[in-house]
């Protein structure tokens, strides 16, 4: 039993515990520090761990917990005596080799910054490029399906049926056709209509759908005002702005979400950065659509200025500090200034006769909305 009395007496009072990684049995052991660390359980065969294989495992304060690269992965040796622990630590030269060091952290920071920079570059340059190139390539049927889906939504919000007064409708069709011809859009798919709601607005949907809301007709004072706005919406169609926006917004929100992940309050950051980035993209598209509208109106020999005046009547002066960074459209006063610059005396015939104009204004019937 006591063949090694000198070693037994050298053992500290606090027990050293060994778990062999196969069972949860708690084995009280003694250590022999020779060429390798020898773990001896009374009545069992000793286990040898080479010093170079020994690594530190997480432990509470006051306990040195060791694992070995060549033992079962969960085998653990727990030394509770400070002097013995110091002795063993001294011999295990590669004890902390696997821990994350300052250099490791610097590497993480470096790679994260690189990843962030690349994501930002993709958001600023890659995604807009992809959106511009891909949008015209989206097959017409898919575009039309998306348009159909949004049309159903729009009609759920703004009223089930578009306005159908016969005289008004023929005036509207005449106006739209003249603009479409001037714009050079393929006619196979384009549809346009007036929806009975008092909201003053107009919009284009994917697949060549243009809608004017009744509220806009009520505020308009002459056909040129409506024509300019319609021309602007046709510009969106011509430039595939819907599909571009869809690809662009999907791409940026995915990438920005990836970037900020799970930092507390990240949704606010994601929301803010998305708003800024997307607003600037949308402002560009709006400016391009304005350019297009100016061209069309000039081609028809009419001035683009009335449309901007109509917008100004609706929105009033908009400018103000931070909000302009977040605005999805150029400021109305800037658009008015630009269209005023492009104002030319009318050289073409009026787009609608007075009678047609009155019919258009009454397209939804009177006093319905």
């Amino acid at each position: 039993m006591n063949e090694l009395p000198n070693e037994a007496s050298a053992q500290p009072a606090k027990p050293t515990i060994f778990f062999d990684g196969v069972s949860s049995r708690r084995r009280q052991v003694t250590l022999a520090l020779g060429y390798a660390l020898e773990i001896v359980e009374e009545g069992g065969s000793p286990v040898r761990w080479a010093y170079a294989d020994i690594r530190r495992a997480d432990s509470p304060p006051g306990i040195l917990r060791l694992a070995s690269m060549s033992a079962p992965p969960l085998a653990r040796l727990e030394i509770r005596d400070a002097a013995l622990a110091a002795d063993v630590t001294l011999r295990c030269v590669r004890l902390d080799e696997h821990q994350t060091t300052g250099r490791g952290v610097a590497k993480i920071v470096g790679w994260s910054v690189a990843a962030a920079v690349s994501i930002v570059c993709v958001v600023l340059f890659g995604v807009p490029l992809a959106a511009d190139r891909l949008a015209p390539l989206v097959p017409k049927p898919i575009e039309r399906r998306i348009g159909d889906a949004s049309e159903v939504q729009v009609k759920t919000i703004f009223g089930r049926n578009s306005c159908e007064d016969a005289a008004g409708k023929s005036a509207f069709v005449k106006l739209v056709n003249r603009l479409r011809d001037a714009a050079g859009l393929d006619d196979d798919s384009m549809t346009a209509g007036v929806l009975p709601t008092s909201v003053p607005n107009a919009f284009a949907l994917p697949g060549g759908k243009v809608y004017v809301l009744k509220g806009l007709l009520d505020k308009a004072e002459n056909p040129d005002e409506i024509a300019g706005i319609l021309a602007h919406e046709l510009g969106h169609l011509k430039h595939h702005d819907n599909m571009r926006g869809l690809i662009y917004n999907g791409g940026t929100s995915f990438l920005i979400g990836l970037l900020f992940g799970d930092v507390t309050g990240s949704s606010a950051v994601i929301f803010a950065s998305r708003s800024v980035v997307e607003a600037s993209y949308s402002r560009e598209a709006e400016t391009a659509a304005d350019t297009f509208a100016i061209e069309i109106m000039h081609k028809l020999g009419r001035s683009p200025k009335p449309a901007a005046e109509l917008m100004f009547r609706i929105t009033g002066k908009e400018g103000g500090g931070l909000t302009s960074i977040l605005a999805s459209h150029p400021l109305t006063e800037d658009r008015l200034a630009r269209m005023t610059k492009e104002d030319r005396p009318a050289s073409g015939p009026p787009l609608l006769t007075d009678k047609e104009w009155q019919a258009l204004k009454g397209i939804c019937g009177s006093g319905k909305v």
């Binding site: 196969v22 994350t100 399906r145 970037l259 930092v263 400018g319 500090g321 931070l322």
Partner: protein
Amino acid sequence: MQWTPIGSEPLPPPLPPTRVDFSGNRTEFRKLVTKGAMLELVTFGFYRFWLVTDVRRHLWSNTALDGDAAEYTGRAKELLIGFLFALAILVPIYLAYFLVGIEFERWQGFASTPLFISFYAFGQFAIFRARRYRLTRTVWRGVRFWMDGSGWAYSFRAMLWGLLVFLTLGLALPWREASLERYKMQHTHYGDLRGDFAGDGWTFFKRGWWLWLLSPVALVIFPLAPFFYAEFKAREWRWWLDGIRIGDVSLSSQLPHNAFYGLYWKVIGWWTLLSTIFAAYLGGATLLVVKLSGLPAEQVFGPDNTAKSIPMLVMMVIGYFALALAINIIMRVYLQRDLWAKVLETVEVHDIGAAADVRGSGELASALGEGFADGLDVAGF
């Protein structure tokens, strides 16, 4: 705490209940999360995998059961890789969601809204798989915990119970929790010991039904809400701990019903303080910008002056990040570390001798589940 080696003799007679000791140093933990939160900011959040791993390593290794501390063997790189894999899988799913959504919308406006539920189901799946990852990285006495069972079967249960809870305005919640916990625990193993959950919905219901009745009051008198929530959480924790079984080992807890009042109010107090400081900072920054530019305030923030408001914007962003960082630290210190310590000091373990000689088994699970949980924002601890 003397422990006689068991050798080959039969199981020892039942011992008095043992306690769980938490030896974590609070200052050390605070430093750990402060450093982690700062690195998280610098790395645009990518450091979160390392931070969450460090937090778990700290909590696990300082939790000692019957004199032996647990260990968390998961590593951040696994989480990062799991997250990237999860993204690769989630992207096509998002695309499919979008395309199916379009078909639904064509048929009827806003008909695709219920499709959102499929993401909830996926989130439940992720919760189950994330738990499996964490459990297989939990080691005690050289033997790991592990889990079998199916994430989708769990998700299906969670959905059905979720529907029932919705239909009963929350009254079925105790039974939902009991059923889901039973599924999770019955598929939990420690070596060759199998887990179980002995809690039942009725017990939980009896402990908390009046909170359900009073919850509308908290909507009106909202300072009461933290009390109600703390009360609910404490009762839930105690009921949950009382139900846990691993083989013949069982847990019980004497967690007092008012145990969390202090924690929640401290968090609210800090939050109020920090928001006040943030507001004052914004006010100061505005004054500074106005002073330095030498223009009247209306002009600085007026139209055509976007360029001049950029310094203001930068100061706002810096302030916001500092606020997020501070709140991050506070949440982790109070709601993770302090809550952990508070709960553990009430836990008693019975018949721990049953776990004295358990044979290790079970395979490591991948971190994909945690990746999904992260990608879908349902990550827990």
